[in-house]
Subunit: 349 residues, 2 copies
């Protein structure tokens, strides 16, 4: 390990994050689970969903009482493979971790396990939970409500969830397949990044309340713009992205019998499928390697150097950041310093 100058040591970052969460009342084990998931997100290069949101999202939600630091999560089940979890307004990371474990436990017993979760809160990047299945040689699935930011086909305004669907599937020597996608053309974070960098958005990401295209991120926020569903306009398949959003909505919110008044992003859905319920896991993983390699050897378009299956780029970034550290944005480092001061904990990054 030789952390690059200016970068943050992931081990220290995990420790710092854990201590900050404990300080606001999260029990130690739950704080460790949350810190591990947050830092894992930054390690994989998903900078929009990790530690940058620690101070202004998760710590704040606990401090202002929106999130219950010590949730008494409950399981209701009427079949070996299926269950509903009530998250008791807990931190989404803690509730999500417990629910995905429950899905995996059930898959160990009968081959498949599914848990629909209500009364939780924002759980960061969905891929983390799907990936919990990998070490058990299982296929993992994770979905979440994402708050209303999509405009449904044929409508105007923000009226449909930017719901997220994640799938993780183990491979052998190659990187696991990890698909982690908002059902909109892009995730909200991409608009934020475009704004921060002072750039314009491409056509096809967003429309205003008047139904007209918006490419200026400032106007997007000022006018209350909405993101188009994956596929964009109806003639290029926008109803498919919308249909995927509604599918996630049903599995997260309707299947968990969530109250209509639940807070944003408070419902999730988790699933696990045991691979050796279908065929020996070792053989499956060899076949996955073949699939990844076959894709890599396709004819590349001019100017393309390397083809990636979903999950490969994130694994490369993870390897690099584990040894060189995480290049947190200066504004994020500043937010962590300020957090340390406010909470009265040691700043050691």
């Amino acid at each position: 390990m030789a952390i690059k100058s200016g970068n943050i040591d992931p081990v220290k970052l995990t420790d710092f994050t854990t201590r900050s969460l404990i300080k606001v009342g999260i029990p130690e084990e739950d704080a460790r689970i949350t810190a591990k998931i947050l830092v894992a997100t930054d390690l994989r290069g998903i900078d929009s969903h990790g530690v940058p949101h620690l101070a202004n999202f998760y710590i704040k939600f606990v401090q202002d009482g929106r999130v219950n630091p010590k949730p008494d999560t409950k399981i209701f089940s009427n079949a070996p493979a299926t269950a509903v979890m009530d998250g008791d307004r807990g931190l989404g990371f803690v509730v999500g971790y417990r629910a995905m474990h429950e899905a995996i436990r059930r898959a160990k017993e009968v081959g498949a396990g599914f848990v629909s979760v209500r009364n939780s809160s924002h759980f960061g990047a969905g891929g983390n939970y799907a990936m919990m299945a990998l070490e058990h040689d299982m296929i993992g699935i994770s979905m979440t409500e994402g708050g209303k930011g999509m405009v449904a086909p044929g409508t105007v305004g923000r009226n449909t969830g930017i719901n997220v669907i994640s799938v993780a599937i183990p491979a052998g020597e190659e990187a696991p397949f990890v698909l982690d996608m908002a059902t909109t053309v892009v995730a909200n974070g991409k608009v934020e990044i475009t704004m921060r960098e002072g750039k314009m958005m491409p056509e096809g990401w967003a429309i205003g309340p008047d139904g007209k295209s918006i490419t200026d991120p400032k106007k997007y926020y000022e006018q209350g713009g909405a993101l188009l569903p994956l596929g964009g306009a109806p003639q290029t398949g926008g109803f498919k992205g919308f249909g995927l959003a509604i599918t996630a909505d049903i599995l997260c919110r309707v299947l968990s019998a969530a109250a209509a008044t639940d807070q944003m992003a408070g419902e999730h859905f988790f699933g696990a499928l045991r691979i050796d319920g279908f065929q020996p896991a070792l053989e499956f993983k060899k076949r996955m390697d073949e699939l990844v390699r076959a894709h890599r050897s396709l004819t590349k378009a001019p100017g393309v150097e390397r083809l990636y299956t979903p999950g490969e780029i994130e694994q490369e970034i993870e390897k690099r950041r584990k040894s060189e550290g995480i290049p947190l944005h200066p504004s994020v480092v500043a937010s962590l310093k300020q957090l340390a001061q406010e909470l009265g904990i040691e700043y050691n990054l």
Copy 2:
């Protein structure tokens, strides 16, 4: 029932289709199952996947030996919720029907059932199998390989499956939610229809082997064009449609341990989730009605008369066609007349 002049009576069409399949050697029960699925597809307005393909696809496949008329399908399983089916080169409708039943049977027992299928053949519209779960108050899932017709992001040529994902979820008084989508911007059938009507395709559907946009369907076929993944270009989320295609590829082909040489569209994946494993089905269906009605009451864009949740339009068409009959294209009627002559069966439509 008052069949409109020029339309085809669905009961007679089912009888005719059954007799034609029996004539080429399909056992009576399997012929009835296949005919019912084919006509159900036409009833729901999915004209690209029903009886129009009877003569030149399914009957031909049996006649030329590609499809085994009497498959000895086999189940391999190592867990109560999961199984692999070998379709013994049977008709996709027969194999799909058996495999989805197997998934439903397992879901009855343990709450969830999943069956990955190899060595099958083209099974028509995927939504039919997902919808088999509805009458059991289950959520149904169906996926299939669709043959290489997608161009993966960063590549050129037809190199990735136009794989299909279907989900069916029961409602109470409202239409069931049915999402039935190719993972490309549009299904292949849409290009065929554009060609037949002498129209041009919109930008964003297809590119040629040179990577340049194709809007003329004639050029699409002449040059060997490929369909873009749902989302289109990488900057508007094309890697998501590609990721969904690969997910279906893994669940259908890798999970079933299919041989690399299997024929096109010969692998499927089926799933069923029992709703009362999560909550009472009646309450769930009331909540589904609320979801559909909430969507219907969103603010409509100018010129939009009515909003539809996926599955609603198809149900409306089905109601109409059940009483008024199916408006088969004259060329399809001609193909059925010719088929009757060739097979030496009575033409009664």
